[in-house]
């Protein structure tokens, strides 16, 4: 039963990731990313990390993905009518068909080689840790204690980082001065 759940969740995650890779629509990619994130959350539950699974759903699905969808909708460009302006520069070479094919080949080659290397590494590796017994228990208590004792400094630094990122992102996104002159082009 747990095996079945594991295979379901990992298939969900991998399917979502492959769909992000192969789809052409940016909004569909965002929705397939949702599938992947949910699958990874399920994998977290199966690895007895219940707190992290809930945090994954709240942070990624509730926060990051909504932000990404906002970004997609704000930068969506409808197909412009043909631009007859003779000042337009030529498109660079990777936009034509041959360049696109070459970039596909290179990307698939690099990613495939990386996966094969990792796979053989994991097949050959003999982790002593993996022979130990595992127990199923809630991790919320332990994470709370660890955050307030051993990891209190990184915890506070993470708070400051989030504050700085929030202020910085708001400032960056609302900056209108320089670009308003070019916006009407």
């Amino acid at each position: 039963m747990l095996q079945l759940a594991f295979y379901t969740f990992s298939a969900l995650a991998l399917f979502g990731a492959l769909a992000v890779l192969f789809t052409r629509n940016v909004l569909y990619a965002a929705f397939f990313l949702l599938l992947t994130l949910l699958g990874v959350a399920g994998l977290f539950v199966l690895a007895s990390a219940d707190f992290l699974a809930v945090a994954q759903i709240m942070i990624y699905v509730g926060g990051v993905l909504v932000l990404v969808i906002f970004g997609v909708m704000l930068t969506h460009k409808p197909e412009l009518p043909a631009n007859t302006n003779s000042q337009q520069p030529n498109k660079i070479a990777s936009l034509n068909r041959a360049g696109a094919q070459a970039s596909w080949v290179v990307a698939i080659l690099v990613a495939g080689c990386l996966f094969i290397a990792l796979y053989t590494l994991l097949i050959r590796a003999n982790f002593i840790l993996l022979d130990r017994p595992v127990g199923w228990q809630s991790t919320v208590n332990t994470i709370g204690k660890q955050l307030m004792t051993e990891y209190v400094v990184p915890f506070e630094i993470a708070g400051i980082l989030l504050l700085a990122a929030l202020v910085g992102a708001t400032y960056l996104a609302s900056l209108q001065l320089k670009s308003s002159r070019h916006a009407g082009r």
Binding site: L2, Q3, F6, L14, A17, V20, L21, V26, A29, L33, T36, V40, L43, F44, S48, A49, L52, A55, Y60, G63, V64, L67, V68, G71, L74, T75, K77, P89, K91, I92, W104, V106, A107, A111, F115, L118, Y119, L122, L129, P133, V134, G135, W136, T139, T142, I143, Q146, L147, P154, A158, A164, A165, L166, G168, A169, L172, A173, L175, H182, R185
Partner: protein
């Protein structure tokens, strides 16, 4: 008791990381590249959590995964703000059309 062999978690993590890398290398829209980065960070988190279940007293892997999530959230917020600004300036978010420093 061991429901699923932990090596399968590592295989899923490796596959997710490779797909994320392919997305980053291949896609031309800036936001999809950001999605690829998120995929890679998720793959790393899967690995950390898979090892962390053998360490129930300190949970170091899960703590690191938690901080990775925090940094990923901050990163995506700032990156999307930058992409928005680039889009306002150049009227495009396709990375290979951004071939001028000043316009």
């Amino acid at each position: 008791m061991q429901a699923v062999d932990s090596q399968f978690f590592l295989f899923v993590g490796a596959a997710l990381f490779s797909i994320g890398l392919a997305v980053v290398l291949l896609k031309r829209h800036a936001i999809v590249v950001l999605m690829g980065v998120e995929l890679m960070l998720n793959a790393v988190n899967v690995n950390l959590v898979a090892f962390s279940q053998y360490d129930p007293d300190r949970l170091q892997g899960q703590m690191l995964a938690l901080f990775v999530m925090v940094v990923a959230a901050a990163e995506s917020a700032v990156a999307l703000a930058i992409v928005l600004q680039v889009y306002r300036h150049f009227r495009t978010a396709q990375l290979d059309e951004l071939n001028e420093l000043k316009q």
